[in-house]
């Protein structure tokens, strides 16, 4: 039985801005096995991104428990979480969020550099990853000089360059045309199979969802349905 890379028990997240309280996660429990690709789908505002943020350790739960590779997130201090993110996780954000003052290759190699990799090795891997996403001729361009789709592909390359154990992706193909979208999903699927990397994707796109092993449907902060594609 493959080990659970991510396990959550009765996770709650409440946003309290003073005037308004928003219960974004209402007792979510799930387990994602190693090498699994799970898609989280649901209407806007149902808590998908909150789930991603809290279960990856970017944000804190109000109550409940999340374990990453068997270790409770709550026992990790900020430095440990940061190190873990640099070495074992990859993130693809909805707005790609590249560092504007760094070129494409510098953005991609950043996770390797901050986790202590040799600069030459980091550059080599970054270039290889940009080649995989079809941007070998844009490596020195700054984000402002790239199209939305190209920026998204750079973000994908950045998320994958450190061969993460878990990839958290929020609308990874949101700004891509269908061809690029297909190419990127193909790459994610290939890595998922080849390296047994675990993928947790948030998406509105049924075509993307159908390529995952499992779809978890969320409504109003709760997982209401689970569909196995494989």
């Amino acid at each position: 039985m493959p080990k659970a890379m991510v396990r959550a028990r009765d996770a709650h997240k409440v946003y309290d801005s003073g005037a308004v309280e928003v219960h974004a996660l209402r007792g979510v429990s799930l387990a994602v096995a190693q090498g699994e690709m799970v898609a989280i789908m649901g209407p806007s505002g149902c808590g998908k991104t909150t789930l991603l943020n809290c279960f990856s350790g970017l944000d804190d739960l109000t109550s409940g428990e999340v374990e990453i590779e068997g270790v409770p997130l709550g026992t990790m201090n900020d430095a440990t979480r940061t190190e873990y993110r640099a070495k074992r996780m990859g993130f693809i954000f909805q707005s790609y969020n590249l560092i504007p003052v760094l070129s494409a290759v510098e953005n991609v190699e950043l996770p390797l550099l901050v986790s202590g990799h040799d600069a030459r090795e980091a550059r080599k891997r970054a270039l290889a990853m940009l080649g995989l996403v079809g941007l070998e001729d844009r490596v020195r361009h700054k984000p402002a000089e790239l199209s939305a789709g190209q920026q998204q592909r750079v973000a994908v390359a950045r998320a994958l360059v450190n061969t993460p154990a878990i990839v958290w992706a929020d609308e990874p193909t949101g700004n891509l045309d269908s061809e690029s979208s297909d190419q990127v999903m193909g790459l994610l699927r290939e890595l998922n199979k080849k390296n047994r990397q675990t993928f947790i994707l948030v998406t509105h796109d049924h075509a993307i969802g159908s390529r995952a092993d499992r779809i978890l449907r969320m409504v109003n902060g709760q997982i209401v349905d689970e569909v196995r594609n494989r």
Binding site: E65, P72, T75, F93
Partner: protein, 491 residues
């Protein structure tokens, strides 16, 4: 140690510690940036990507430094002017012994000196010799201010200093110089002849050969006066520029005869070892010896460390002016600090999203802090350098304007701009401190940002501080795990 000696020492020690701290901090940031070149690259490029804004920020930041620098250089200029004036007025005289009847330090004009026996001089000189005091010249003199009339013209002056010197003892006090630069020894004067300095020459419209009437005792019904012939005009330099007074200079014995001062002098001047500026370091020791000599010989005389006293006054006055300027600038400096905080917070706040992403992909809090502080260091160094230059320029303008609006109080006194390089270092350091403090506070704030709120550009909850609140930590802990556990070994 007296408190007035302790304060400057404490200030110097404090300044030294501060400078060492700033250098250490700058080097630490440079070291950390060198260890993570990508962080340094991000810091540098963030500054360079908006050059106009960089210039604006530096322009705002440098105000504090410019104000401090200009205040200090104005103080330096005033100190230089007043200190220089002391050396011009006193030249080689470091101390004098006399019986003052009134006037003196703090009052206009030179002190009024009572007559003292001429034997005072060898007694003092011999005692100083016996003590091997750090003295290179001791000389008697007769100095009296009196009305003088030019009998060859209608010019007169109500107060001209008539001075009698004995050239045999004047070696350490420098020669008199004619206008062509040649020496003018008193021995070349004939009976009832005197030199006149340039200042007196102008006031009395005097030429060589003119006759001057010296009225030395106008209380006498018959009038006490003497007539001397002008044997030459000497430069307003050295002892001929004593207290910047118009002077008539003659041999001591001639002066004693003419002014009914036979066997009397009224001042013994002392020059310490070293030149005009260096001799003052021996003042305390020499004046101690002079005081002992006066007591031992039971002389009712006062020893005056005239040069040391005047220099101290000059420095105190210029420091007070400097402090006034600094105080006037303090409000601007404080406003500037608040501006820096706001500007830097705004600049960094604009980039909250990218900072959040950087944290998400593995940049640590301390790396982020290093990046932000490195930016602050670059801003600080640039603004402090520009501020120092601007302060120099501002100080120059103020001194220039002063010189135009208020002409020098004495003829020959030059209001020249002058600065001490140490003042520029102090201003640079102070400017760095201001920037480091304000930038450091903002950097610390942003290094603790909440990643998700930063990425999504959601404002912080009111009353909450970034990164400090961790809700329900207990509920996130697995059963049995100790509180604050640092976490697992990474696979």
């Amino acid at each position: 140690m007296a408190s007035e000696d302790l304060v400057p020492l404490l200030l110097q020690a404090g300044g030294g510690i501060l400078a060492a701290f700033l250098i250490g901090l700058t080097l630490l940031v440079a070291y950390r940036a060198a260890r993570a070149p990508v962080i340094a690259r991000m810091a540098a490029r963030n500054i360079l990507r908006r050059k106009r804004r960089f210039a604006l920020v530096v322009g705002g930041l440098m105000i504090g430094t410019a104000i401090i620098a200009s205040s200090l250089v104005i103080g330096d200029t005033l100190e230089y002017i007043f200190v220089n004036d002391v050396y011009v007025r006193l030249h080689a005289v470091d101390e004098y012994v006399a019986r003052e009847m009134g006037g003196g330090l703090g009052t206009p004009g030179p002190p009024v000196l009572a007559p003292i026996p001429e034997s005072t001089f060898p007694a003092l000189r011999d005692y100083l010799d016996s003590q091997q005091s750090a003295v290179d010249g001791v000389a008697p003199a007769l100095m009296q201010s009196m009305p003088v009339e030019n009998l060859n013209g209608s010019q007169g002056s109500p107060s001209v200093l008539v001075v009698g010197y004995n050239d045999s003892y004047e070696g350490a006090f420098g020669p008199l110089l004619r206008r062509d630069g040649a020496e003018a020894p008193l021995s070349s004067l004939g009976p009832l002849e005197a030199y006149v300095n340039e200042r007196a020459g102008r006031e009395l419209a005097v030429e060589e050969g003119h006759q001057l009437r010296l009225v030395f005792d106008s209380t006498k019904a018959a009038g006490g006066f003497a007539v001397v012939r002008v044997g030459g005009i000497v430069q307003d330099w050295g002892k001929a520029n004593w207290e910047r007074q118009p002077q008539i200079l003659m041999d001591l014995s001639e002066a004693q005869r003419s002014l009914n001062y036979t066997g009397l002098i009224n001042i013994v001047r002392v020059s310490n070892v070293g030149d005009v500026q260096a001799g003052v370091v021996h003042s305390a020791a020499v004046s101690r010896d002079l005081n002992r000599a006066v007591i031992l010989n039971q002389m009712p005389l006062t020893v005056t460390e005239v040069k040391a006293d005047r220099l101290r006054e000059a420095k105190e006055f210029s420091q007070e002016v400097e402090e006034v300027f600094l105080l006037m600038g303090a409000f601007s400096i404080t406003s500037g600090m608040l501006l820096i905080v706001n500007v830097f917070t705004m600049l960094v706040g604009e980039r909250k999203g990218e900072l959040g992403v950087a944290r998400a992909i593995g940049v640590t809090r301390s790396q982020l802090l290093t990046m932000l502080v490195a930016e602050g260091v670059l801003y600080g160094l640039a603004s402090a350098a520009v501020g120092v230059l601007a302060g120099l320029g501002l100080g120059f303008l103020v001194v220039y304007a002063f010189g135009v609006i208020f002409p020098p109080p004495e003829a020959g006194m030059v209001l020249g701009f002058h600065f001490d390089p140490i003042s520029l270092v102090v201003a640079f350091t102070a400017g760095l401190v201001v920037t480091y403090l304000t930038v450091g506070a903002a950097a610390l704030y942003f290094s603790r940002l909440n990643i998700v709120r930063a990425i999504r550009d959601i404002p912080e909850p009111s009353g909450g501080r970034m990164g400090w609140r961790r809700p329900s930590k207990i509920s996130q802990r697995s059963p049995g795990a100790p509180p604050g556990a640092s976490g697992p070994r990474l696979p």
